[in-house]
């Protein structure tokens, strides 16, 4: 029962149910494509604004049709496959990077009514259902898994091109994505720990409802203490290969990185996947940390507010990603690795331990300050130890280099 706990699938499955599921497939597919189209335009326009330029302004009002024009153009471009490329893998790679991007979006709740004990269900053609394509009990794992599969797309693209720059780009990509996935996963575990479920719907449910003091929402952003959120955003940016972590396609060093040898619609597929992943990653952040489509309803039909809240929160993070790109210079490779392994992973791991301890303390009715205080001290001590170990290793390496030269 991979589609999970959706009330639509709980009862008898007749034609209407199948049609509703098909409709959801179509809508989420189209929604994602349109979102990507708008995202590319939004990014180009906003980035232009932030660097005192105008940006696309020729196709349609405010250049909003520029992406469409580019897409059509890509179809008519010459499709080159280098002689030394591994043809089968070269053709496969763009799809390997695009299909996971679509898959991930399937488990994102994009709407629903989360007030009045409605559990996020919405009435659609007489059937109660959730506004998400699928809600597998392992939703979060699916997200992590498909982001790992996407690495294969990037890696195989570079490897099969039979060319040095793509190969360098893809080696960077695999190293970067593997190391940041650890931090990403650890910060997700904090969320899962508190929600008590891997289903994205349950995670949203756990964040719905009025929060602390009626003002601060019960989002995981607050509940997990901000640190996992910050780690997730940074690791997510790295996972997306977006600036400042875009070493994979560093134009100044690697021409186009892993997709240097790609042209025509194959190149467009990579591009599409990249922006689709940006949209999806923002949606994941919203789902995991900002309560997804859950939010107060004010007037009008209550099903309207779910998608509205979702889009508002999504837009916030899309803006953030563009803002990052417009502001931050690219990391050097060793800085990237240092940040990933020496800062993010220890921090995420330590915070996870702290959260787990607090969780147990609450279950066992232990005194919270008594647990958190020593726990914090242990973490700081461990971090100091780690730091001194890193510094010693660095010093030894420097001595070796000096002796060598």
């Amino acid at each position: 029962m991979i589609l999970g706990l959706d009330p639509l699938l709980a009862g008898e499955i007749d034609l209407a149910v199948v049609l509703i599921v098909l409709l959801k497939v179509g809508v989420s597919f189209a929604l994602l494509l349109v979102a990507v189209m708008l995202m590319i335009w939004f990014e180009r326009k906003l980035h232009a604004d932030m660097s005192n330029r105008i940006g696309p302004n020729r196709a349609g009002p405010f250049g909003i049709l520029q992406t469409l024009a580019d897409g059509i153009k890509f179809f008519f471009k010459e499709d080159l496959i280098p002689d030394r490329a591994d043809r089968k893998i070269f053709i496969l790679a763009p799809f390997l990077s695009m299909v996971p991007a679509f898959l991930t979006f399937a488990v994102i709740p994009i709407g629903g009514v989360f007030t009045d004990d409605k559990q996020g269900a919405v009435k659609l053609f007489g059937h109660y259902t959730w506004l998400q394509l699928a809600d597998p009990p392992i939703g979060v794992l699916l997200i992590l898994a498909s982001s790992s599969i996407a690495v294969y797309g990037v890696m195989l693209a570079g490897w099969s091109s039979g060319s040095k720059y793509p190969l360098l780009g893809s080696v960077r990509a695999s190293a970067q994505m593997v190391s940041y996935e650890a931090a990403l996963g650890l910060s997700v575990v904090s969320v899962v720990l508190l929600a008590g479920s891997l289903s994205t719907h349950d995670i949203v449910m756990s964040q719905a409802g009025s929060g602390f003091g009626g003002i601060i929402p019960r989002w995981n952003l607050v509940v997990t203490g901000l640190v996992p959120f910050v780690i997730f955003v940074i690791a997510g940016t790295a996972e997306l290969n977006r600036p400042p972590f875009d070493l994979v396609e560093a134009e100044q060093e690697l021409v186009g990185g892993f997709h240097t040898e790609y042209s025509s619609i194959r190149f467009a597929l990579f591009f599409l996947a990249e922006f689709m992943n940006t949209v999806t990653m923002s949606a994941i952040i919203v789902t995991l940390f900002l309560g997804g489509p859950a939010g107060p309803t004010f007037f009008g039909p209550d099903w309207m507010w779910g998608p509205l809240w979702f889009l508002a929160k999504l837009g916030l993070f899309l803006f953030m990603f563009v803002w990052f790109r417009a502001t931050l210079p690219r990391f050097r490779y060793d800085q990237l690795m240092d940040l990933g392994w020496k800062v993010m992973i220890p921090l995420a791991l330590g915070w996870l331990l702290l959260l787990a301890t607090i969780n147990i303390a609450r279950d066992e009715n232990w005194s919270l300050p008594l647990v958190v205080g020593p726990g914090f001290v242990v973490l700081v001590g461990a971090y100091a130890l780690l730091n001194s170990a890193i510094r010693t290793a660095q010093k030894r390496r420097d001595d070796l280099t000096k002796a060598g030269s």
Partner: protein
């Protein structure tokens, strides 16, 4: 909080009308009325000039093809027929082609040309849609009887009148006709088939007087009669 100052700057740029958000790029000319003034030395599409009597200036010497760093020029010379010469001299440019997919508009061909046959106009809006159109043949490059370049269907020359008078963009590093008088002087010639550029600082409008110019004028008269 030095880390976040950068974010403040980029966010501030979002607000147009403020000094930090002032847009520095300008839209393409067609959105904002008439075309913009072209810089005096703009290098655009080439023209092959003719003398006032209609004779072609090109003598088919292939110096332009030899000097071209992009190797975009292909020239083949042929002997002039004595009774129906194309250019004043022994030979003329029988085939003359410029491939604009390769041309970098460096103007070295203009520098190399001994007879001021090839110059660059200020016309740059020519977006051909296939590779065949990108290769301009002699028939397309030679100026027409008015001394103006031929307007090909894909070229936008709506401001031709404005740039025609000042379109050669031609500053020679050497004497136009190899005159020793001009050694070490940046030469300038007022005599061109298409457009005349004003002399720049340190240049005079005087023609290179010595033999070379005189000879050429003689040639002129000889063949002009036949034409």
């Amino acid at each position: 909080m030095g880390y976040f100052d950068g974010f403040k700057i980029t966010f501030g740029k979002l607000f147009k009308g403020t000094r930090s958000g002032a847009v520095v790029t300008v839209p393409y000319v067609k959105d904002s009325g008439p075309k913009r003034e072209k810089p005096v030395r703009l290098h655009g599409r080439h023209v092959l000039n003719r003398y006032e009597d209609g004779m072609e200036k090109c003598i088919g010497c292939e110096l332009c093809a030899g000097v071209c760093p992009a190797r975009c020029i292909y020239v083949r010379g042929a002997d002039n027929l004595p009774d129906d010469p194309v250019s004043p001299g022994e030979r003329y440019g029988f085939v003359y082609e410029i491939n604009y997919l390769r041309c970098i508009h460096c103007d070295l061909c203009v520098e190399a040309c001994p007879t001021e046959a090839i110059t660059e106009s200020k016309l740059f809006e020519f977006s051909f849609t296939n590779r065949r159109d990108a290769i301009y043949t002699k028939a397309e490059l030679v100026v027409d009887d008015d001394g103006l370049p031929r307007n090909l269907p894909w070229e936008d020359w709506s401001d031709l009148e404005k740039v025609a008078g000042d379109s050669s963009a031609w500053v020679r590093a050497t004497a136009p006709s190899g005159s020793a008088v001009y050694e070490g002087v940046v030469g300038w010639s007022g005599e061109l088939g298409f457009g005349v550029k004003e002399p720049e600082l340190g240049q005079t409008a005087s023609e290179p007087q010595p033999e070379a110019a005189a000879e050429r004028d003689d040639d002129h008269d000889d063949h002009g009669g036949h034409h």
